[in-house]
């Protein structure tokens, strides 16, 4: 979960990581109020959950009352990579001597935490890393290792921090490291970490991503007003509906409704449709062991999408059981009804039971099943994909 800059700075403040100390504004009037506090020498920063905000015009320096008003009005009208600007952070301008980059992240391959720093701060750090890798300094930590002050001093030394300021710099690193481990962070970046003319260090910017799967350990975040959230930009109405139902779903620009089991085959099944000349209308992940209700909702998303011409269904019962799958399909057929052709394959755990449920329901009401082509393990999944492309083609040409 990515935090807004102002939220990240709240956490920084809690961990004694110095921040500029501005406030957020919800409209230009509030921005003017905050601006006045700092003598109208401020930076106005759009609070959006995406990087590259600066290049998109999301950060403005204002040096007069007029500029604060004008720029904040502009910002609230801007859209940054699809995100509306609902809030801006108004920070005082800093008396900058030098800018550094400081970050911590996880090295997933070596199972370590990595602290990353560069004396080239305030610029595109990836470019620095690509062109002059020697300007990037890394320190690795095992999860069971403490952070010691000397490590930050060594880092500061390599960055060219003057001797008399090494302790302070190291303290800064220590606090960031402690914050990272205490809050199950995935990423923390300060770019730039500013050294002021008076020698002090201050986090001019703040980027923090926490591990969604560990939020249960941090109930205090909610107390701080930092709520669990999703990170996408603008959603389609169907994506919003899917999220409300708790279904990972993404609209694509094709016409074959994808109803596969499992995230892995969700991605690969879409490739298959392309290989056979079709275009998927969506990504969808049923998650582990979905309930019949949830499966029914997944089918509703596809059936109600006017772009969808045919539906590709696949279920290999693992943790998800075929009987539950069959129940979900039957529930959908009974309560909603199927308006598109559906070709599907079902096998795996409890497949016999799934087949039995289908047969019972069909015996009871054959009409429900008239648009369904049903296959078991004997048919390769590629054939199902081909057939879905065929069925959709028939509809498109009809």
């Amino acid at each position: 979960m990515r935090l807004y800059e102002y939220e990240a700075k709240q956490l920084f403040n809690k961990y004694k990581i110095t921040i500029p100390g501005g406030r957020t504004a919800l409209d230009p009037g509030e921005a003017l109020e905050v601006g006045e506090e700092f003598g109208y020498n401020v930076v106005l920063k759009a609070q959006v959950l995406t990087g590259g905000r600066g290049k998109e015009g999301g950060i403005k320096l204002a040096r007069s009352e007029g500029e604060v008003e004008k720029f904040s009005e502009e910002l609230f009208k801007t859209k940054i990579k699809g995100y509306d600007v609902d809030k801006i952070l108004v920070d005082p301008l800093l008396d900058i001597e030098k800018e550094f980059y400081l970050g911590i992240t996880i090295d997933r391959f070596n199972y370590r935490l990595v602290m990353i720093a560069s004396a080239e701060g305030g610029v595109d750090i990836e470019e620095v890393a690509a062109k002059t890798p020697e300007k990037i300094i890394k320190i690795n930590f095992n999860m069971d290792e403490k952070y010691y002050a000397f490590e930050g001093m060594q880092l500061g030394k390599q960055l060219g921090v003057e001797s008399g300021k090494l302790r302070e710099f190291s303290g800064f690193c220590a606090n960031l490291y402690r914050l990272f481990t205490d809050y199950d962070a995935k990423l923390m970046e300060i770019n730039p970490l500013v050294q002021l003319k008076d020698g002090k260090f201050i986090a001019a910017d703040a980027r923090v991503s926490l591990d969604d799967d560990a939020l249960f350990r941090h109930p205090d975040l909610a107390e701080m007003g930092i709520e669990k959230r999703h990170e996408e930009g603008e959603l389609t109405p169907r994506e919003i509906q899917a999220r409300e139902w708790g279904i990972p779903y993404l609209d694509l620009d094709g016409y074959i409704g994808m109803f596969p089991g499992g995230a892995g085959f969700g991605i690969m099944g879409n490739d298959f449709i392309h290989y056979y000349g079709g275009k998927p209308a969506n990504f969808m992940d049923s998650g582990g062991g979905p309930s019949p209700e949830r499966l029914a909702k997944m089918l509703i998303l596809l059936d109600e999408n006017p772009d969808v011409k045919a539906i590709f269904g696949a279920r290999f019962g693992g943790i998800s059981r075929c009987d539950d799958f069959a129940k979900g399909v039957i529930m959908f057929l009974k309560e909603h009804g199927l308006s598109k052709p559906l070709v599907m394959r079902m096998t795996g755990n409890m497949w016999q039971e799934g087949v039995r449920l289908f047969e019972e329901a069909k015996a009871e009401n054959p009409g429900l099943f008239e648009r369904i082509e049903f296959h078991g393990i004997e048919t390769p999944i590629e054939d199902i994909a081909k057939r879905a492309v065929e069925l959709a083609g028939e509809q498109l040409n009809a």
């Binding site: 990087g51 995230a263 490739d271």
Partner: protein, 288 residues
């Protein structure tokens, strides 16, 4: 032969008294998997499916000689459970639950290394050595004993590939699900090395997808080993996903697209399959 689990493995189920634990324990036992007991702190002395339940792993190891564990617990209890297992002497732990906190996985890996143990998952469908042992949630129907190994991050992909290998008569030595969580206990390269040491595994099918970091890192292993590797990567037509900020890019390198992953793997000597049906064709062309 097989890797990691076989008919001699002595397996305990951590969380055996829970819903998923008891359901899959039954399935695993029915398959013939050598489940010797289960763990459920506070419920020692009970039985599940005729197998003894212990309060602690140490007891289970003492009394049953267990060497392998499969974990069915809520994500938040997994860290302690795995560390308990490896400290008690368990050498292989399969972590089925998903959404394990990342910092927990890092610590699990560090602890497992200290004790010379291997961890699979989290969010894995498990591992099966057909005809010998099935650990996790994989459906038996797809699998048959044979001569090809598989390793994939995804359970469903594993089923389809095994299904294909079974249908075309190759069968499988062992099918390994690495798991879908962002940080995994084992990686492609490590599993490939194990397959390399298994005489009966004549080829390995490795399936990755966009977004991960582990596929590229397998390239140097593919170059090194003699066992032929058939590689599939999902997401050729998927839009580029998000990545973990600049620091992530610096540490992990730029996130590979399906194409770049396929290129790296092909250059390392892997044979590329696009669909499952390509796999038996490639195996045939390699005279396997």
């Amino acid at each position: 032969m097989a890797i990691l689990v076989d008919k001699n493995s002595k397996i305990i189920v951590q969380g055996i008294t829970g819903g998923a634990g008891s359901f899959h324990a039954k399935r695993m036992i029915e398959y013939g998997t050598n489940i010797v007991g289960g763990i459920s702190p506070g419920k020692g002395g009970q039985e599940v499916e005729g197998k003894p339940v212990f309060d602690t792993c140490a007891e289970a190891v003492d009394e049953t000689g267990a060497d392998t564990s499969v974990v069915f617990l809520s994500a938040k209890f997994v860290k302690d459970a795995v560390i308990e297992a490896v400290r008690a002497g368990i050498k292989f732990v399969v972590v089925v639950p998903e959404h394990i906190p990342i910092h927990d996985m890092l610590r699990i890996r560090v602890e497992a290394e200290k004790f010379g143990a291997r961890v699979l998952g989290g969010n894995t469908a498990g591992i099966i050595s057909p005809g010998q042992a099935n650990l996790g949630i994989m459906p038996d129907i797809a699998f048959s004993p044979g001569r090809v190994g598989t390793v994939s991050r995804s359970g469903s992909i594993t089923y389809y590939i095994a299904d294909t290998l079974t249908r075309t008569g190759y069968g499988e030595t062992t099918c390994v699900g690495l798991g879908g969580d962002p940080v995994l206990g084992s990686t492609f390269d490590e599993i490939l090395e194990l397959f390399e040491q298994d005489d009966q595994t004549k080829a390995v099918v490795m399936t990755g997808e966009i977004g991960g970091i582990y596929e590229e890192r397998a390239a140097s292993t593919i170059e090194k080993i003699n066992t032929p590797v058939i590689a599939m990567i999902g997401g050729v037509f998927a839009p580029q996903g998000k990545r973990m900020g600049h620091a992530g890019a610096i540490v992990e390198g730029s996130m590979g697209t399906a194409e770049s992953k396929l290129k790296i793997l092909e250059e390392a000597g892997a044979h590329i399959a696009k669909t499952f049906n390509d796999i038996p064709e490639i195996l045939g062309s390699l005279n396997i």
